[in-house]
């Protein structure tokens, strides 16, 4: 344990050092450019590439990350890029801009490397053929056969998993999103309205009610999953006891159910609704509390009933809080892999509950269909983009009705 601790600390140090070095390099790069705007391109280029060269040397020395030939190549390319960039900055460089660019650069380089580049890489993968059989060749030589639109065609015709089809997944995803978001908002609104009364123990209720959101997601989902176990889960135990006590219920068709294997989608939905309500509740409660009391008093004086107050004061004023929360919630629900994977992800798990994103995850990492899932991911991305755009248009349209 002791040497392991040391080793891991060393690794963390190495990692922070790495980030610090990259940051330093970027800063040196910007500093050199913006502070020699009048000199020729050569000096800035050489100066700012030096730390980069050191980094490459270290990478070569440390181990099997890159080879010497690759390092030289990368270095030459970066020198060329430098020359171009610095001659550009020579004419365009504005010293005042140095600081803001230096400040945002490390973060944005990180985002570019870890979000933008993977996106591009995904497009590359989708048009090539990477699977378990070609993986070894690819990681050694970098060669991948080009397959055109084949994977995109497969996405719509072959199952991402073993039987469920793309169209089934799509339908289920939309249904899943609508049902979940509806119950999140309805449940959240109901609880928030209850909590917004002047009652005792309000703080305690609020604290207890956010617990599903506050618990680590993995624990919460696994715990709930346990409650759906066919023999030892709370639900079936209760059903068993009820039917024992009132045989009439059994005659009405109440009986123990194989939740996890036969009704996986329903189980996942129930668990996710349970998980998502507290967030909406907190957001809506915040919105409710920001509505000045005087509006309700004015409405009372005007003779509004409770419902009318809710309809004409609460709802419109809740809208600025609700609209972004619903948008966010929709995206989260659409993209929610966690619940479904944790409930059905183990070997032998069912495909009954899968939605697009969880099928994507399983296709990539359970079935190892790399390129196929890259294409699949792009399809989902486009779908989501189209839905978002439509939603934006729609919400803009309703906005003007209120203003």
């Amino acid at each position: 344990m002791n040497s392991q601790v040391l080793l891991s600390l060393l690794e963390v140090l190495q990692m922070v050092g790495f980030v610090a070095f990259v940051t330093l390099w970027i800063e040196a790069y910007l500093y050199v450019h913006f502070n020699f705007p009048k000199k020729s391109w050569f000096l800035p280029a050489v100066l700012s590439v030096v730390p980069f060269a050191v980094l490459l040397l270290v990478l070569v020395a440390v181990g099997p990350v890159i080879t010497v030939g690759q390092a030289v190549n990368i270095y030459l390319y970066s020198l060329l890029a430098e020359a171009l960039l610095s001659s550009f900055f020579r004419y365009k460089g504005d010293k005042k801009l140095a600081l803001p660019y230096m400040l945002i650069m490390p973060g944005f380089v990180g985002l570019a490397l870890l979000i933008a580049y993977p996106l591009v890489f995904e497009v590359y993968l989708a048009f090539h053929d990477l699977k378990l059989t070609t993986l070894k060749v690819w990681s050694e030589t970098g060669y991948l056969p080009f397959v055109n639109f084949e994977h995109f065609y497969d996405v719509f015709t072959k199952s991402p998993l073993s039987e469920v089809s793309f169209w089934q997944l799509l339908g289920r995803t939309l249904w899943w999103t609508v049902v979940n978001v509806f119950f999140h908002v309805a449940g959240g609104l109901a609880l928030a309205l209850l909590l917004n009364n002047e009652i005792r123990l309000r703080g305690l209720y609020r604290t207890l009610l956010v617990i599903p959101w506050a618990m680590p997601c993995v624990v919460a989902v696994l715990a709930m999953r346990g409650e759906f176990h066919s023999e030892y889960g709370f639900i079936n135990i209760m059903i068993g006891r009820l039917t024992d006590a009132f045989p009439m219920l059994a005659q009405l068709g109440m009986h123990k159910v194989q939740w996890l294997s036969q009704h996986a989608f329903l189980t996942c939905t129930i668990i996710n609704v349970w998980l998502g309500i507290p967030f909406m509740m907190v957001v809506i409660l915040g919105g409710l509390q920001s509505i000045p009391k005087s509006y309700y008093e004015a409405a009372s004086i005007d003779g509004a009933s409770r419902f009318q107050k809710f309809r004409h004061v609460t709802l419109p004023l809740l809208r600025p809080v609700l609209a972004p929360a619903v948008t966010l919630g929709t995206v989260w629900t659409f993209n929610n892999i966690n619940v479904i994977y944790l409930v059905t992800g183990q070997s032998g798990g069912t495909e009954e509950a899968d939605i697009l994103v969880s099928a994507l995850y399983k296709a990539a990492f359970t079935f190892n269909r790399f390129s196929y899932s890259a294409a699949f991911a792009l399809v989902i991305f486009v779908l989501l983009a189209v839905i978002s755009l439509m939603w934006l248009k729609f919400s803009k349209g309703t906005e003007s009705a209120y203003d």
Partner: protein, 283 residues
């Protein structure tokens, strides 16, 4: 006075109904947690039972001893801690400077950058996982902390930048101007005046990064396959997978993890929410 008395009876029933509804909701929301606690206290021979009592007969802490002694639980926690702290530190440092630039400077790309940050929130996390995994694999960083930190480091960055930008916006500019007239550089004014004043926001950003990485499961599942490098989420899932035999240990481990997380969360949830809505409303 008469007005008040007349409305009292109806009012009382209303209050009663509100309390009843809230208590019901509370029970539903905390029951799974209570059940986990109850299972963790069960003695070994009756781990599996259809008993619903919250404090089981012959309650014992044996499961806790065994999850610490017989599994890698402590190691998993340690792994999680290292990865999470490194991730959060990097995230907060990057966000603190970027947020400042967005709050204080007008530069070409200012608006675009902020919009792009919001845009990244729309990208399905599962979508980037595959290329990220392949990159980490190519760099030979599978089963390393470094690989995990790289994969995690920017996931909370856009949100952190928005939170910090929002907070910096509330710090009066004249403070920095005063500092600059007093003799600091612009950057000096940032780290001597603005940063110390922004500790609450920095703490929130750190906490947000921390919880996100601490509770993460899917990325870890992909990058870590060696059980000695597991984070606690992977470890617990494994324990729970073998449902029958290790149910007690799973429950004990869950309780050990959940209690501190709950406390931190409940303490900070107010700010987290305001930050969440801030980030989305302003966009």
């Amino acid at each position: 006075m008469t007005e008040l008395r007349r409305s009292t009876p109806r009012f009382k029933w209303g209050i009663f109904a509100v309390h009843a509804a809230l208590i019901l909701a509370c029970v539903i929301n905390i029951y799974p947690l209570l059940r986990i606690i109850s299972v963790s206290l069960r003695p070994g021979n009756r781990l599996i039972s259809t008993d619903l009592a919250l404090i089981p007969d012959g309650a014992t802490l044996l499961s806790y001893v065994s999850v610490i002694k017989n599994t890698n639980f402590l190691l998993w926690l340690w792994n999680s801690l290292i990865i999470t702290v490194a991730t959060s530190l990097i995230g907060v440092i990057l966000a603190s400077t970027a947020g400042y630039a967005f709050s204080r400077f007008r530069f070409p790309g200012n608006k675009l950058g902020l919009t792009l940050l919001l845009g990244t929130q729309m990208i399905p996390a599962g979508m980037l996982l595959l290329p990220l995994f392949l990159m980490v694999m190519k760099l030979g960083l599978i089963n390393t902390y470094l690989g995990m930190v790289i994969a995690y480091s920017v996931s909370s960055l856009p949100f952190s930048i928005w939170i910090l930008k929002g907070y910096y916006d509330t710090v009066p500019r004249s403070l920095e101007e005063a500092a600059m007239v007093d003799g600091t550089t612009q950057f000096g004014a940032f780290y001597r005046i603005v940063l110390p004043l922004s500790t609450p926001a920095l703490a929130i950003a750190f906490l947000f990064n921390f919880t996100a990485a601490w509770n993460e499961y899917l990325v870890a599942r992909v990058i870590l396959s060696n059980s000695a490098k597991y984070t606690w989420t992977l470890g617990l899932f494994e324990l729970q997978g073998q449902f029958i035999t290790q149910w007690g240990m799973f429950a004990a481990g869950s309780v050990l993890i959940t209690i501190p997380v709950l406390m931190v969360f409940l303490y900070s949830s107010k700010w987290l929410v305001s930050g969440l809505t801030l980030g989305s409303v302003k966009g």
